[in-house]
Amino acid sequence: MLTFAIERFSDVYGELLPLLYEHYAEISTHKDHGVELEPQVGVYRARETDGSLMMVIGRETGQIAAYFVCFIAPGLHYASCLTCSPDIFYVRPDLRMGRTGIRMFKFVEAELRRRGVKRWAVGSKVEHDASALFRYLDFQPVETTYEKWL
């Protein structure tokens, strides 16, 4: 049984950290450039306090098996448009072939609708393509992100 819930950063961070390292090792381009994982815990705590951080945690028998982290705030250019901006999401490898990702994103969507979010942005990495999931969930591709390491 996998269930999803909104949890607080301050409650879950210690439990989440080992998974963040696994996640970093799997997908980050930073590791290829010698940049260590070093979450700015104080900033996350501040955003938890001001209500702009949302964390959805998927658990199986109490253990974290998936998570979705995002920031919710009015758009900087669009004060009337409550916007959900992506941070990170993760599903345990053995759960990726089923509907876990779909269930998690549908849970997130229900919560975002409840909070009155108008625009929800997500990101798909070239090396870890989640486009099929996003298209299934009726997202539209609108932008490609490039990076250059200096």
Partner: protein
């Protein structure tokens, strides 16, 4: 949220939890809810602290009168203390503190419910006659991450030491997707 309201947190529930652990036989004293035909509580253990007496009726007409609270000599909502409360004075203190702090005028059912890891309370809405008369409160004694309490289209994880009101007249369910027992005191209050 419309269906859940947290009214307190930081309540010291550890003395009660310790008492419950010291007296495990209390869980098996009465299994009325668990064996309720086709009921939603098949995976729930309960310690009844305060509950209606079993009323024996002879006819369907008497049963209907009882459900309408019109059966002479009986008050459908009256819930006497059960002997178990004498084993758990820690629970009585928490319940009476809840009554005092909320300003309730009548105390109804009081139960301690336990759902094992992986267990559920299946989707149901409480009986109309009951939910319209009483308000339902939960005092969280033990609950680990992975517990989901859904009511309508909302859900929460109620943390230990928190006290919540919730709207029990609409469909609700509980999933204990943690690795530890979920233990709540359930209290009905009338205002």
């Amino acid at each position: 949220m419309r269906n859940f309201l947290k009214i307190a947190e930081g309540v010291n529930v550890t003395p009660l939890l310790n008492a419950i652990y010291r007296k495990p036989d209390l869980w098996k004293a009465d299994d009325f809810l668990r064996k309720f035909p086709q009921g939603p509580f098949g995976e729930t253990d309960t310690i009844y602290l305060r509950f209606q007496d079993h009323v024996k009726v002879d006819t369907d007409e008497e049963l209907e009168l009882y459900k309408q609270n019109k059966l002479a000599g009986y008050d459908l909502h009256e819930c006497p203390w059960r002997p178990e409360i004498n084993e758990l004075p820690e629970a009585r203190a928490l319940i009476m503190a809840l009554m005092t702090s909320t300003g309730a005028t009548r105390l109804g059912r009081c139960m301690i419910n336990r759902i094992v890891p992986g267990g559920k309370i299946f989707p149901h809405a409480d009986s109309k006659w009951h939910a319209e008369y009483w308000d339902r409160y939960h005092v969280v004694v033990q609950s680990e991450p992975g517990n989901v309490f859904r009511c309508g289209d909302e859900q929460v994880w109620m943390r230990p030491g928190e006290v919540w009101w919730f709207q029990n007249s609409i469909e609700h369910e509980v999933l204990n997707n943690s690795a530890e027992d979920r233990i709540h005191i359930v209290v009905d209050l009338r205002f």
